[in-house]
Symmetry: C2
Subunit: 635 residues, 2 copies
């Protein structure tokens, strides 16, 4: 069912003045910053202890395990991200740094392949006793992903061997006719599928399928497990773990949003791998459900702090949003796998919505602070202060006790090339307009260069250089739905490509230096919510290109709720020339500021005054003085 | 400092076709309904066991204590309410029923005066060990209020003697030079002040003052107490208990809203009693703070479920509001005491806002279901379902595990006469337009009759009948701020009364049958929130007379957020002729319904269609089919 493969990262170069800068930031600033934290060389909140746990498990240090039960996953995600950095650019020091950590992991691994410092150091007798809460398979999944990324980047097998031994142990233990088990936090499933693809070992595919298909079956595995604990564990909220129904019967996105995304990504991957149509249909139903009723306009997923979870349809409060950075990252995993099965413009648009908004908002422009929660409305006296808003921080903290998001950002951003391109039998897919270049094997080697100033500019140029002159193959380019009045030029001549589901398919004999240019407008779009979302009635949200805009107090003044955008206001597009947001685009208009009576309630209608209003990209909020922020603007 | 006394309930008759109907409902339906629940003759959720606990404590039954640690207070509040019912109208059966419960309490009382079934039956060794959490003084306070109400209604002393013995024990135990103590839930303070007024015993005043003044002093009593428990109790949230500062230094309403109201009521009462100006100033500052930034337009107090508490200024979410019925009842206690010190129109208006809106919404029109939480916006698929909305029920339940609100409603409604009238040295105060009659002793006996169809009609007529022809005294009548273009007529002649702070002062020699008539309009008012309340920007709320209106789905259709009230729409006032709301006033207008695209987000502006819209009194919502409800309407 899969129409295309990932392009190896080493075959992709990002050079667009946007993502390339962010990749450089992640490589040069974020990875070392995160390594220092994981190795306790720098302490932001409390010691991470994550690498020290491995050192203790390897018997190279004395001490007790410290941190979350899933602390190992921080190391694994960093290793995966660092491996992507190596794939992008050789770096001997980083290579050696990675190898040293792998050496510790190797020494910490037990004879049967088991590797998890919490259980090795702290609770050896509790292994595999609580799959629901204890994240053993989750941590291992992340280690497997790191092993796969590392071997693809370096051709070395030192981490891959470790994770294969661990995966083999899991395959020996769990499956039909073996021990029953379902992980509380999905991750092992998609990891085993990745490992299957680099090793070809059927056991990995089978065990991934087992974990996916066993989930939600009756009787509940989690309640069986709980009974073994004499019910000392709290009762299972099956929806939280997406185990309320067998996965093929799930049609509504529920529960912990990151877990949901990791599961759906694995379901899509399995259906791609095996051609399982009913599993793919479940994925489509879940995706539709999210797109139709459960996603913030910024891409944010999960409306509530309670269980970091999805809530009922259309419950999308802006000020108490959860919209975890990791959930949006997980959505990229899911969307990419859906695109590999069937290229669809709406799914590529979704990928853009995630990347340019909720995900990028997760990281400070200087690379050293991170949002876990991404609200769409912040009022400093309330956000972080009122009990229902305690999780909503008005500024990015330097680290988090539960540090899942920062290394997740690193691994996603450094592997962006895998999301931009796809390689089919005879088709090259450009899912994202990502400036730089990529190499493919379709009708022989083909080099594709891409010039782009996206997201600020709607022009893009692809230059195709087949090794074989006149090779016939298809180039499929996604036209983002935010681009309007697009002209397509083939070698400078206007043409009408075959469009299908938001992709242009250009199937021809290609010659070295052939160009496909798209010149489109990126008008400012006013978006309106479905009126079933009660909070957004009467409000509009501005988007230009894939970028959602917001108001900040430092450009306007508080309260931002007092500002109105007249229906007929012309919205100017301006380049920002200085300050932290230099080079970005801002929107400005002649709007209205209302001023109300001083009392709490008044019969006097607020009085309207003209006011110049400025909006900036949502992803860049919180990079200047602290203050109010607001995405949805009164019209 | 006090300018006036309460009027004895037996001197007041309510006959206005509005409150008189509600009093009848409470007497004939609610009191028996509640008695059956307290005596386990009917079970709505789980057994109340409240009277049975007394029976066990009195050794007339076997068994264990069941219910909340403050279960006794349900019985006390019912006794207080039933005593008010007796004051309004003799009832031998009720009288006997009350006496039987008093007999049990008497038998349950211990030799030293201690009376609390939780500690007598379940935890005798834990008495007085945890004043912060265990509600001993709270329960006793309610019993004292019942004792005072009972003796005033019946002239009997059987309950008064019990509570005096208990109060004496408290006075012996706590105070300067005795054991240090501050109650976690305020109530004993205002109760001891009431007891002081009927008994004249100085100890009660002194101990009330002690509890008020000791609160918030350093070192923290609650933390001292916690240290005695080897810190096994959770740390104290001093704001939750209003113990973060000495009471005279408090200027912001914080913490549990019911506790706050009971404390402020006691502070006002004490300052009235003793002429303590600094305490009165603190009361004014706290009242101002609430009126300026912390009250829903319905009178609701406390924005959050978490700690049932006040939150930062202007944080007034409509859909996750807490706005506990008891907090509004507590505000009536506070407001009445403030009015007794200084009659002010805004305080009398506040009393009306509470009574006609958040309080009355607490009780189903049939008297058998009750709201604890009073939201200003309900969407059934979200309210009660989404985690942040779990506390928001779209329909009134029959009872509550924490059953504080239902009997609190009974005692307030049956004692309404005490809020309507005040009796000064030579002035009769009419704080509320409450149809019926009242007797006063100013310049001899004076009978005042009041004809009113408030809140539906802005005309009221007071007929004054002094026993002494030509007696000189002053009649002070509050002119509600919702009344406009008022004409004042004295014996049919238009006159201009001396107005001060919202009260008309009519000082003259009165003759039997003199009438003061006020003919005013009750226009439909559009209220606007301060723009610092982010949720209400662009919205308006309709008020007519003291009644706030809301939209319900059964009159309009969902989503209610799709409805707009045009700025120039004429709003019709209609009488409802049938159904559950028969006799009430509805508002109707030709408005606009927007219909949005089917997707979650769209570039297309929702399309506007004309729509007939109907609003009903907020207090009557939830009495027909379940559905959406909304107070703040888009303009």
């Amino acid at each position: 069912m899969r129409t295309q493969q990932n392009v190896p990262l080493s075959a992709v170069r990002v050079e667009d003045g946007f993502w390339s800068n962010i990749q450089t930031l992640v490589r040069d600033v974020v990875l070392p910053y995160q390594a220092d934290i994981l190795e306790d060389k720098s302490v932001v909140t409390e010691k991470s202890h994550a690498v020290e746990n491995f050192r203790i498990a390897a018997r190279e240090a004395e001490g007790e395990f410290q941190g979350m039960v899933f602390q190992d996953s921080d190391v694994a995600k960093w290793l995966e991200a660092a491996s992507y950095a190596l794939a992008l650019q050789p770096d001997e020091a980083l290579n050696a740094h990675i190898d040293e950590i792998i050496r510790l992991i190797d020494k910490a691994q037990q004879a049967d392949g088991y590797v998890n410092t919490y259980f090795t150091v702290k609770a050896p007798d509790k292994k595999w006793t609580n799959l629901r809460d204890n994240h053993e398979l989750y941590c291992l999944g992340h280690m497997i992903e790191a092993g796969v990324a590392h071997t693809l980047a370096t051709n070395k097998h030192n981490l891959l061997d470790i994770v294969c031994r661990a995966a083999d142990m899991v395959c020996r233990r769990f499956g039909p006719g073996k021990t029953r088990g379902v992980p509380g936090h999905e991750e092992i499933e998609l990891a085993l599928l990745r490992l299957y693809r680099v090793t070809g070992k059927q056991d990995y595919l089978d065990t991934a399928r087992y974990f996916i298909e066993e989930r939600g079956k009756q009787p509940s595995f989690f309640e069986e497990e709980r009974a073994r604990h004499a019910y000392d564990l709290r009762a299972t909220n099956e929806e939280y773990h997406q185990s309320h129904l067998p996965v093929r019967e799930q049609t509504e996105a529920v529960g912990h949003s990151v877990r949901a995304m990791y599961l759906y990504a694995a379901m899509a991957d399995l259906s791609a791998e095996t051609g399982d149509a009913s599993l793919y249909e479940a994925c489509r139903a879940l995706l539709d459900n999210i797109l139709e009723s459960k996603m913030y306009v910024t891409g944010g997923l999960g409306s509530t702090f309670h269980g970091e979870a999805f809530t009922p349809a259309y419950d999308l409060p802006n000020d108490t949003a959860y919209a975890e950075t990791c959930a949006s990252i997980g959505m990229c995993f899911f969307a990419r796998r859906m695109l590999e099965i069937k290229p669809e413009g709406r799914v590529a648009d979704l990928l853009e919505r995630q990347l340019f908004n909720n995900i990028l908002a997760g990281i400070q422009l200087d690379g050293t602070r991170f949002f876990y929660v991404n609200p769409l409305e912040v009022i400093p006296s309330i956000s972080g202060a009122a009990p229902a808003h305690k999780h909503v921080q008005p500024q990015r903290p330097g680290w988090h006790a539960c540090a899942c998001c920062p290394p997740n950002l690193s691994r996603l951003i450094l592997s962006l090339g895998r999301y931009a391109w796809g390689s089919g039998d005879r088709t090259i897919y450009a899912h994202l307009w990502l400036g730089g270049s990529a190499q493919f094997s379709v009708a022989g080697r083909v080099d594709v260069a891409c010039e782009s100033q996206y997201p600020w500019n709607g022009a893009v140029c692809y230059t195709i250089s087949p090794a074989m002159e006149g090779a016939r193959f298809c180039l499929a380019i996604h036209l983002p739905s935010c681009c309007r009045n697009a002209y397509w030029l083939l070698n400078g001549e206007v043409f009408e490509p075959d469009m299908k589901d938001g992709y242009a398919y250009i199937d021809r004999a290609w010659h070295k230096g052939d160009t496909v240019k798209i010149i489109s407008e990126l008008p400012v779009l006013r978006l309106y919510s479905n009126l079933a979302v009660p909070r957004n009635a009467g409000l509009t949200c501005l988007q230009r290109g894939p970028v959602i805009f917001c108001l900040e107090e430092c450009d306007n003044s508080a309260p931002l709720a007092a500002l109105r955008l007249p229906p007929d206001a012309e919205i100017g597009v301006e380049k920002i020339h200085d300050g932290a947001l230099k080079g970005m685009t801002a929107l400005t208009w002649e709007g209205v500021r209302e001023i109300s009576d001083t009392g709490l309630y008044s019969e006097r209608h607020p009085i309207a005054y003209p006011a110049k209003v400025k909006a900036i990209p949502y992803f860049a909020w919180g990079n200047r003085e602290a203050g109010e922020m607001r995405v949805w603007v009164r019209e």
